[in-house]
C-alpha cells in the first residue's frame, strides 16, 4: 500500500477507503479530452478495474489535449492505447479495452459489468444513450461536456437521483450542437473538466463530500467563474424511460450512424467476418476464409445469408460504400457491423502480413 500512502494518510480515506477504491470498477466511455485525464487520475488512484471504450484511432490533432497519448500511438485504437498506458502507470489495475462504439446493442452488456460510468463522449446522441442505460441498469453516471472555454459537470442517477434527461429533457436538433472538431477547444478545458470527473468518481466510491447529484457545475475558464445550478428529478421523464425499458428518443435516432473500425484495433483471430462490397471486377481480389463478397447493390437481398453472432466488417476501396452497407445493416438487423476505415488495398496487405 506504499503507493497510496498519501491517500491513506487522509482521515477521509484511510486504508479502508483505499481498499474501496481498489475494489471498484469504472467504465470510461470515450477516451478524448475528457476521458484522458479521467484515466490518468483513476489509474494512479488505484481503481481496481478500468474499462475503456472507444472505436476511434489516435490522430495528430488529438495530442494537443488528449494527455495519455503520444506520437507513438498515432493511428492506433484509443481504447487499446489507453489500456497500454494504464499498464505503464499501475500494473495492479485490471483493464478491459473495447475498440468499438457504444451502441444500443452492446451498451447494456458492457455497462452492467461496472460500478460507475464516466461520460467522456462528444456526441449528444451517445450521451442520451448512456444516460438511459445507466438509469435502466442503476449505475451512477459522471458527466462533463464542454464548449470552447466553458464546461458543465454533473453526476446523474446517483442513489436514484436526477438524470441527464431531468437536466436536459428536450433533445436538441443535431445542428444545434457543434463538437470540438468544428468549434475548437483550448486544451486545458477538457483537462480540468476530466479531473473534476475523476474527483466525483472518487467521492462516489468513498462516499464523502457533496457529490454533484441534482446540481450542475458550470465553469467559464476565461472569466474564472464557477456557478452551481440545482435541478430536480423529473419523475415523468424517468418513469417514461423505465416503462419503455430501452433507450429511446422521440426526435432523433439514437443509433450511431457512422460505425468505423480500423485494422489497428483488429486481429485476424477476432470473432468477425469481412464483407467486400465492391463489384466483382475490382482489384485487388482478396481471398480469405473470413472474407465474403456481396456487392453493395445485392446487399439487401443477400445480407441475411451471412448474419451470425460474429461482428461484420464491411470494406470497399475508399470507405464510402462500406459506410452505406454498415448503416443499412445496423438499421435493419440485430447485429454489430462496422465500416473498415482502410480500404481493400490495406486489408489485402494486412491479411498477407
Amino acid at each position: 500500500m506504499t503507493r497510496y500512502k498519501r491517500h491513506i494518510a487522509l482521515n477521509e480515506i484511510g486504508a479502508k477507503g483505499q481498499s474501496k477504491i481498489n475494489n471498484t470498477s469504472v467504465l470510461v466511455v470515450g477516451v478524448g479530452g475528457l476521458g484522458s485525464p479521467v484515466i490518468e487520475y483513476l489509474s494512479r488512484a488505484g481503481v481496481g478495474v478500468i474499462g475503456i471504450i472507444d472505436f476511434d484511432n489516435v490522430e495528430l490533432s488529438n495530442l494537443q489535449r488528449q494527455i495519455i497519448f503520444s506520437e507513438d500511438d498515432l493511428n492506433k485504437n484509443k481504447a487499446i492505447c489507453a489500456q497500454e498506458y494504464i499498464k505503464k502507470i499501475n500494473l495492479s489495475i485490471k483493464t478491459k479495452a473495447y475498440s468499438e462504439a457504444l451502441t444500443i446493442r452492446n451498451g447494456s452488456e458492457i455497462i452492467q459489468q461496472y460500478d460507475i460510468i464516466v461520460d467522456g463522449t462528444d456526441d449528444v446522441k451517445i450521451r442520451y444513450l448512456l444516460n438511459d442505460f445507466c438509469v435502466l441498469l442503476n449505475k451512477p453516471l459522471v458527466y462533463a461536456a464542454l464548449y470552447k472555454f466553458e464546461g458543465q459537470i454533473s453526476v446523474f442517477n446517483y442513489k436514484e437521483g436526477p438524470t441527464y434527461r431531468c437536466l436536459f429533457p428536450i433533445i436538441p436538433k443535431e445542428d444545434e450542437l457543434p463538437n470540438c472538431s468544428q468549434t475548437g477547444v483550448l486544451g486545458v478545458v477538457p483537462g480540468i473538466l476530466g479531473i473534476y470527473q475523476a474527483n466525483e468518481v472518487l467521492k462516489i466510491i468513498l462516499d464523502i463530500g457533496d457529490v454533484l447529484s441534482g446540481s450542475v457545475l458550470s465553469i467559464n475558464l476565461l472569466k474564472n467563474t464557477h456557478t452551481t445550478f440545482k435541478f430536480s428529478k423529473n419523475e415523468m421523464e424517468v418513469n417514461k424511460l423505465i416503462e419503455k425499458g430501452v433507450p429511446y428518443s422521440d426526435s432523433i435516432s439514437l443509433m450511431n450512424s457512422d460505425y468505423r473500425i480500423s485494422l489497428n484495433s483488429l486481429t485476424i483471430d477476432d470473432k468477425c467476418i469481412f464483407v467486400d462490397v465492391r463489384n466483382e471486377d475490382e482489384e485487388p481480389v482478396i481471398i480469405h476464409k473470413k472474407i465474403h463478397h456481396i456487392p453493395l447493390g445485392k446487399l439487401k437481398n443477400e445480407i441475411s445469408n451471412i448474419i451470425s453472432d460474429k461482428k461484420i466488417i464491411f470494406f470497399c476501396s475508399s470507405g464510402k460504400r462500406s459506410i452505406k452497407a454498415s448503416n443499412f445493416t445496423n438499421k435493419n438487423f440485430n447485429v454489430q457491423s462496422f465500416s473498415l476505415k482502410e480500404g481493400a488495398l490495406m486489408l489485402n496487405k494486412w491479411i498477407n502480413e
Binding site: D119, D122, K148, E176, C180, F231
Partner: protein, 77 residues
C-alpha cells in the same frame, strides 16, 4: 421590473453578451422568455434550460428581480 440575465456557451455567442439587464413585466418564466425572444429573435427555436436564482425551472412564477441564466446543452468532450 429589471432582471439580470446571464448567457452561456452558444447562447452567449448568439446574443453577443455574457450578461445584461432586461426589463420585463412578465409574471411567469414562459412569458419572460417570450419577452426575451422579442429582444433577441435569434433565440427563437433554440434549446436551452432556464435557471431562476440558481434553480433550473422551465415554468412557473417569475420571482421579482431574479437572476435568470440561460444554459444550453454542450456536446464537446
Amino acid at each position: 421590473m429589471e432582471y439580470t440575465v446571464r448567457y452561456y456557451g452558444q447562447i452567449a455567442e448568439l446574443v453577443d453578451s455574457n450578461e445584461e439587464f432586461i426589463f420585463s413585466e412578465a409574471d411567469t418564466i414562459q412569458r419572460f422568455i417570450k419577452d426575451l425572444i422579442q429582444i433577441h429573435p435569434i433565440l427563437k427555436g433554440k434549446t436551452f434550460q432556464v435557471v431562476q436564482n440558481n434553480q433550473i425551472k422551465r415554468e412557473g412564477a417569475l420571482i421579482r428581480k431574479a437572476v435568470i441564466d440561460l444554459l444550453p446543452q454542450f456536446s464537446g468532450g
